[in-house]
């Protein structure tokens, strides 16, 4: 075990106030705006966390109206992801697809969001029908938009319809104005657009932090993997920065609706804007937590210094870092992109948080990057991160170990509006297809997609942003690329399906799950697709051996997805839960759940809303929304056992070289797990034994998990489970389920 030691003398010297500015031409851009609709409304602050209003905007018909937030909505759906799913259910039909006008984008921060006394309280949840999966996607995001939306008077923003011209929706939560403007000449890419709009809508320099912009970029117009950037103004750097609602292509829906940007101007943020029921408890809980961060973070995860990138070298050490499209779990060049490097490369003398009061402050920034390629070649920019997922996805998984290229890939993903996780996984798939002859130069239009070729990687991304060439095909995502390659007869269909790392149409995030059955379920037995924010059980299962039986794994795949869902109902960030722990945590029963922090969350919810809950109630709150979402998937024609199937690469070794690279481990498993003797067997024979064993136990895991969740073996919530959760109060929900029982 080694603890990285921070050496301030090694931090690279970049002037964090210097970067290319894009404000020239702001007046002309503003002059071209044309007001299409303007209404006035009465701004209000929340009462006990809720404003009790939703803002509905149809960008096609220009209808703007307020809708009440009912007591039933609060009781069953809480807020955030719950409100998003509720509104979306009411907006769409089973036949609705992502690019139909009735599809919605809903942004909701949750009742606790906007609190400034505790860490990680600025999150919003964005919900829509996904162009990648054809089912609801939920994506959590930091930045200022969600909290400022709430402090402007709305618990949620519901966007429906399709405009025939590029528009901006501006909410002035100080003056009480909602305006839809045509925006014919606005910049396209986020880092330019958000800077221009922040200065355009701020009334003066002091007003800049009160503005937040939601935007995407050029690639969202030509791909299915577009994401949304939520801005926050960095007072120290004097620049606009972003957090991303990345997964599932919501940015693509945004541009399909011809929304150029959402802008909110909120009131100046203060500590009491939620008007909580019990401010003393909130203050006391926050002070205790901040002290814990201050005293423990330096000897624990060093989140304040390194952000989430601190686990790059940890994943590598445990053979869990995705390398070359999840074939391998470690690589000798990882030291070039691990946290010892990012600690030097990211600006360190300033606190980086994406919402007020977050003492964990893990939003790192790499300043002074001069771009080598693309439309902004030669510009000096600040890059947010890289976070772990970006370093692993854009880096090791594609064999890119040059940190400057990794930062450039990160930058262009952000400004073009591309999900970095999705891009990393789909590019790794393209590179492996290139390695195995499924792709070649003529099929990629000349791109040499070899491992580590960052220039070709960037060119593919620029093509995606221009809607040209192979980049446009890659922008369809792994699932549709697989179908395209198989249809063209470019390779063995089984191999293509085995190595294409998607489930439900969504690309895997950046962890190796081959040796953790529980994590295989943590990815595939999800509602929205394989994103680690539901359940991350690799260490509990594979390293700690805390989940020896199927029942143990099923219990973990019951509790943790529900526990983590709760963050997204309320506006919490997951990271402060367990990226620092109290000094005496190891003495607590169930230390891995960090019981003191769970109690903090119970206390913060109760103190904000005035509704007393227990840690058990917390799980029930989540279960209502989680099961509602499962039924929603079924309603959309998915959500059954067959849709939870996992690609074999996520379960075991697909290729001979993969097997032989860890032959000792795999041979040993044949002895201990299968009771057979590997001696005298060919690699192909041993691989076949593994496939049978691994797919069999995954199927057994599905049975155990569905049973624990109160679902049939086909993955359908039972009527008894719906009744237990009070979801039988929604006849439409019951009707959907009845058709599958």
């Amino acid at each position: 075990m080694s603890q990285l030691v921070f050496d301030p003398s090694k931090v690279m010297d970049f002037d964090y106030t210097r970067r290319t500015e894009y404000l020239e031409g702001l007046e002309a851009i503003q002059a071209a705006h044309k007001v299409l609709k303007e209404i006035t409304y009465t701004p209000s602050l929340p009462d006990k966390g809720y404003t009790n209003r939703t803002l509905y905007v149809n960008v096609g018909s220009l209808e703007v109206k307020e809708k009440p937030v009912t007591q039933q909505m609060k009781d069953v759906f809480i807020g955030g992801r719950g409100f998003g799913l509720f509104h979306l259910w009411n907006a769409v039909k089973p036949t609705t697809r992502w690019n139909d006008p009735e599809n919605e984008i809903i942004i909701s921060p949750g009742p606790v969001a906007g609190m400034t006394q505790y860490a990680g309280t600025g999150k919003s949840l964005v919900v829509s029908l996904s162009p990648q999966t054809d089912i609801p996607i939920d994506s959590n995001v930091g930045g200022f938009y969600g909290p400022l939306l709430k402090f402007s008077g709305f618990d949620a923003l519901e966007l429906q319809g399709k405009s025939d011209k590029d528009i901006i929706l501006f909410i002035d939560g100080v003056k009480g104005i909602i305006r839809i403007e045509e925006a014919p000449t606005d910049p396209v890419d986020s880092h330019v657009l958000a800077e221009v709009l922040t200065h355009m809508y701020a009334e003066n320099e002091k007003d800049l932090p009160n503005i937040s912009v939601v935007s995407t970029g050029a690639a969202a117009e030509h791909s299915l993997i577009g994401m949304l950037n939520f801005s926050f103004y960095d007072r120290r750097r004097k620049c606009v920065r972003f957090k991303q609602a990345g997964r599932g292509g919501i940015g693509t829906v945004f541009r399909d609706k011809r929304i150029r940007a959402l802008v909110v101007r909120g009131p100046k943020v203060a500590g009491d804007l939620n008007h909580p029921a019990d401010p003393e408890t909130i203050a006391k809980t926050g002070i205790k937590y901040h002290k814990e961060i201050r005293e423990n973070d330096g000897s624990q995860c060093m989140m304040r210094r390194n952000g989430t990138a601190h686990i790059v070298e940890i994943m590598d050490a445990y053979d869990l870092l995705p390398v070359h499209n999840f074939q391998y779990g470690s690589h000798p060049d990882v030291h070039k992109i691990d946290s010892s490097y990012w600690q030097q490369r990211c600006t360190q003398h300033t606190v980086d948080g994406c919402w007020y009061g977050c003492s964990m402050a893990c939003a790192k920034g790499a300043d002074g990057l001069v771009l080598k390629t693309g439309p902004y070649k030669g510009d000096m920019v600040t890059v947010d991160g890289p976070e772990y997922e970006n370093a692993a996805g854009l880096g090791s998984n594609c064999g890119v170990f040059d940190p400057d290229y990794l930062l450039e890939l990160n930058f262009y993903c952000d400004t073009y509006g591309i999900c970095t996780i999705t891009y990393g996984t789909l590019t790794a798939f393209v590179m492996e297809c290139y390695q195995r002859g499924i792709l070649n130069k003529s099929r990629t239009g000349g791109l040499e997609m070899t491992w580590g070729n960052a220039e070709a990687d960037l060119e593919m991304m620029h093509q995606m942003a221009r809607g040209e060439g192979f980049g446009k095909i890659a922008g369809l995502g792994v699932k549709k690329m697989k179908e395209h390659f198989i249809k063209n007869g470019w390779g063995d269909p089984q191999l293509i399906n085995d190595i294409g790392m998607e489930n439900k149409g969504l690309e895997y995030s950046q962890y190796m799950s081959k040796e953790s059955l529980a994590q295989q379920g943590g990815y595939a037995l999800t509602n929205k697709g394989p994103q680690h924010d539901e359940a991350w059980l690799i260490f509990m299962d594979m390293v700690n051996k805390q989940l020896p039986t199927f029942e143990d794994k099923a219990e973990a795949l019951y509790y943790f997805p529900l526990f983590r869902t709760w963050f997204g109902l309320n506006g919490f960030c997951k990271l402060p839960w367990n990226d620092v722990v109290p000094a005496n945590n190891s003495e607590q029963p169930e230390a891995h759940k960090v019981p003191e922090h769970v109690q903090n969350y119970v206390d913060l919810f109760s103190a904000t809303t005035g509704i007393k809950i227990s840690k058990e109630d917390l799980i029930v709150q989540s279960a209502k929304v989680y099961n509602f979402q499962r039924v929603f998937n079924i309603r959309m024609g998915k959500g059954l056992r067959l849709h939870d199937a996992a690609p074999y690469r996520s379960l075991g070794p697909v290729t001979k070289e993969e097997y032989e690279s860890r032959a000792e481990r795999y041979d040993q498993q044949i002895i201990t797990e299968m009771g057979l003797d590997p001696a005298g067997k060919s690699t192909e024979e041993k691989m076949a034994l593994h496939r049978e064993w691994r797919t069999g136990r995954f199927s057994q895991l599905m049975d155990s998990v569905y049973t624990r969740r109160g679902w049939t073996l086909d993955g359908v919530p039972t009527l008894a489970r719906l009744k237990e959760l009070g979801l039988d109060a929604f006849p439409e929900v019951v009707e959907v389920v009845k058709q599958h029982l």
Partner: protein, 65 residues
């Protein structure tokens, strides 16, 4: 021989908790360690020796992003 997270590891006289972590390349800083059911505090990793036949539990408190 000792058992570390249910897998065998060769034992030697004077072996400490720190030695076990090194042998297993357990690098994550947030750990909860029990030796034969007794909690070992972080400050005692270098001085706590492991008896032969011990059952060592090393719980990593890591739960992803």
């Amino acid at each position: 021989m000792i058992l570390v997270n249910e897998e065998p590891l060769d034992w030697r006289a004077g072996m400490t908790v720190r030695d076990v972590l090194s042998a297993r390349n357990y690098r994550f800083p947030l750990l909860v360690i029990h030796v034969n059911g007794a909690l070992v505090q972080k400050q005692d990793y270098d001085t706590t020796t492991i008896p032969d036949g011990a059952v060592v539990k090393v719980i990593h408190l890591i739960s992803g992003g």
